[in-house]
């Protein structure tokens, strides 16, 4: 944090999904606070990283029980916001880039149409102005011929371009916080880095905060300022990205150790030994705070 007031503060966040076999606690007493910085949330599948991102935006299905003592965004308590107020915040203040453009874009509308809709919903603007803004935005995400891409349908664009279109759509209402949920996992390595570079530049230019959710520890440590490591719905540790390799936590060390490395030896990879003691005692997720 750069010393200023935090952009987003989350305290004691718990998410419980009811199931026939009893309640499943996906996130357990999670808390963090961030300013205008790049923060990474890393964990294996099922660690609750995506659920955390969705809980902040109130995007979980109604049967999920979300409790928290505090979710404050720019001094505003998101827990007490009505659905109508949340709609003002989603997109305009906090927006979210999803994993796969194939499933997140509307297949029957042109991409330009979808991006300009994102702008006109949150800003008073005419069609012409929205189109111009969209073309500028497409240019900002380094699409070479914006005017042509404007009229294309999602099936006509490649994965890398689709992801850049998603980023354009999420950034055009000029939010202060962007949550990126595995934005590049479906892409090739080089394209992945190019898309991240665009994201990085835009976030810096606009002074936004970024929550980058990923399973790729190596990528996150080279891309973000701080890293939150999650396991079993709980935060194992929060470290500065540059110090990640010096981490002492057995889980972080285990995750780093089991990655194959080009300059490593080709013998056995160390495997991760899980320890029940990492997790705090069973959740008391109920009856505290306000339900979202």
């Amino acid at each position: 944090m750069a010393g200023n007031t935090p952009l987003l503060t989350v305290n004691d966040l718990s998410v419980v999904f009811p199931s026939p076999k009893g309640d499943v606690c996906a996130v357990n007493n999670l808390g963090f606070s961030m300013g205008r910085e790049k923060i990474g949330i890393v964990g294996e599948s099922g660690s609750g990283k995506s659920v955390t991102g969705r809980a902040v935006l109130g995007l979980l299905p109604p049967y999920a029980r979300v409790t928290a003592s505090d979710i404050t965004f720019k001094g505003r308590n998101l827990l007490t916001c009505s659905e109508k107020q949340m709609r003002q915040i989603r997109g305009r203040q906090i927006s979210m880039v999803m994993q796969d453009p194939k499933y997140s874009l509307n297949p029957v509308r042109t991409v330009g149409n979808q991006i300009s809709e994102a702008y006109t919903i949150h800003h008073k603007a005419g069609k012409k102005q929205a189109r111009q803004k969209t073309l500028d935005m497409l240019k900002a995400v380094r699409i070479r011929n914006p005017a042509q891409v404007y009229g294309l349908y999602p099936h006509e664009v490649s994965g890398g371009m689709g992801q850049r279109i998603m980023i354009a759509m999420m950034l055009i209402p000029e939010p202060s916080l962007l949550i990126a949920d595995e934005p590049t996992s479906a892409l090739d390595v080089t394209v992945q880095l190019q898309v991240l570079a665009i994201l990085d530049d835009l976030v810096q230019e606009r002074g936004m905060g970024l929550i980058f959710i990923s399973h790729d520890l190596a990528l996150v440590s080279s891309f973000c300022d701080r890293v939150i490591i999650m396991y079993g719905g709980q935060i194992m540790e929060v470290v500065d990205a540059v110090n990640l390799h010096k981490s002492n936590h057995p889980y972080t060390k285990g995750l780093l150790g089991c990655l194959p490395k080009i300059d490593g030896n080709p013998d056995h990879l160390p495997t991760l030994v899980r320890d029940e003691a990492w997790l705090k005692p069973p959740p008391k997720c109920f009856g505290r705070g306000t339900a979202l």
């Binding site: 294996e44 599948s45 994965g159 090739d188 390595v189 080089t190 394209v191 992945q192 880095l193 190019q194 991240l196 570079a197 990085d200 399973h215 520890l217 190596a218 990528l219 440590s221 080279s222 891309f223 285990g254 995750l255 089991c258 990655l259 194959p260 490395k261 080009i262 300059d263 490593g264 080709p266 056995h268 990879l269 160390p270 495997t271 991760l272």
Partner: protein, 258 residues
């Protein structure tokens, strides 16, 4: 063990015909582990599917253990060559128990002793008898991939084709499956042909590798060349830089390769 020369593979007809693999060739010795690396659309999986006999529109020369491959394959070929697929969620029949899945190849090849073979192969992949009568949905991703490996092993093949065997798994599970594959190869002196987009995985598993891009082979490297960075092609250099994580200055120099 495996020898491929001038392999060309086509998809589609007429105007929409695409040339997916262009004049690719490589050889793999017995007991060696060879890697095919490339980005999506490079044709690496297509080569593997072609060797496995899943594609018929190809031309060129392919030999396995000195026997020239034709468009159709016989039973003896499939005893020698088996494949493990990428997605352990899609490659196991959801309504067959593990036992039934593993017995099917034994029955097809009329090997007999099905019960004993299944028990033995489950032990080899580290699953044990308690998983035998479960359904795929009762297993985790790593366990399913072990079943997929077991299904390939049950025929005692000499060559195993691995198509991104760990890309659908978490890194901690990936390490376990890679270790298992390494152990089995050493124990049975198997030949592996591994396809992956991850340079680090291929470097860990294979002593030689072929880099592919847009259907063409770029270069063949040994593991030590890759480690030393003794790379001659620009494309491979870029791939190597990209696999090392986010570096803002390096990314600006990335280029597209034809």
């Amino acid at each position: 063990m495996i020898s491929i020369e001038n392999l060309n593979i086509f998809f589609g007809h007429g105007q929409t015909r695409s040339h997916a693999v262009k004049d690719v060739g490589f050889t793999v010795e017995k007991g060696e582990s060879f890697g095919l690396v490339g980005e999506s659309g490079s044709g690496k999986s297509t080569v593997l599917n072609c060797i496995a006999g899943l594609l018929t529109h190809w031309s060129g020369h392919m030999e396995i253990d000195g026997v020239r491959l034709t468009q159709t394959r016989d039973m003896a070929f499939y005893r020698k060559v088996q494949m493990v697929f990428q997605d352990p969620y899609g490659s196991l029949h959801p309504r067959h128990t593990i036992d039934r899945t593993l017995k099917e190849p034994v029955k097809i090849h009329r090997l007999g002793d099905a019960n004993q073979r299944v028990a033995q192969v489950l032990e080899e992949v580290g699953l044990g008898a308690k998983f035998r009568f479960r359904f795929p949905h009762q297993l985790s991703g790593g366990q399913r991939q072990r079943v997929a490996v077991a299904r390939a092993l049950i025929l005692d093949p000499e060559v195993i084709l691995l198509d991104e065997p760990t890309s659908a798994l978490d890194v901690s599970i990936q390490a376990e499956v890679l270790n298992l594959l390494q152990d089995i190869r050493k124990e049975k002196n198997l030949t592996y042909l591994l396809v992956s987009h991850d340079l680090a995985v291929v470097c860990h598993m294979c002593n030689r590798l072929l880099v592919m891009n847009r259907g063409k082979s770029v270069e063949t490297l040994t593991r030590s060349q890759l480690k030393r960075g003794a790379i001659s092609e620009k494309y491979t250099k870029q791939l190597l830089i990209a696999s090392k994580g986010y570096d803002r200055t390096a990314i600006d120099q990335f280029q597209d390769f034809e």
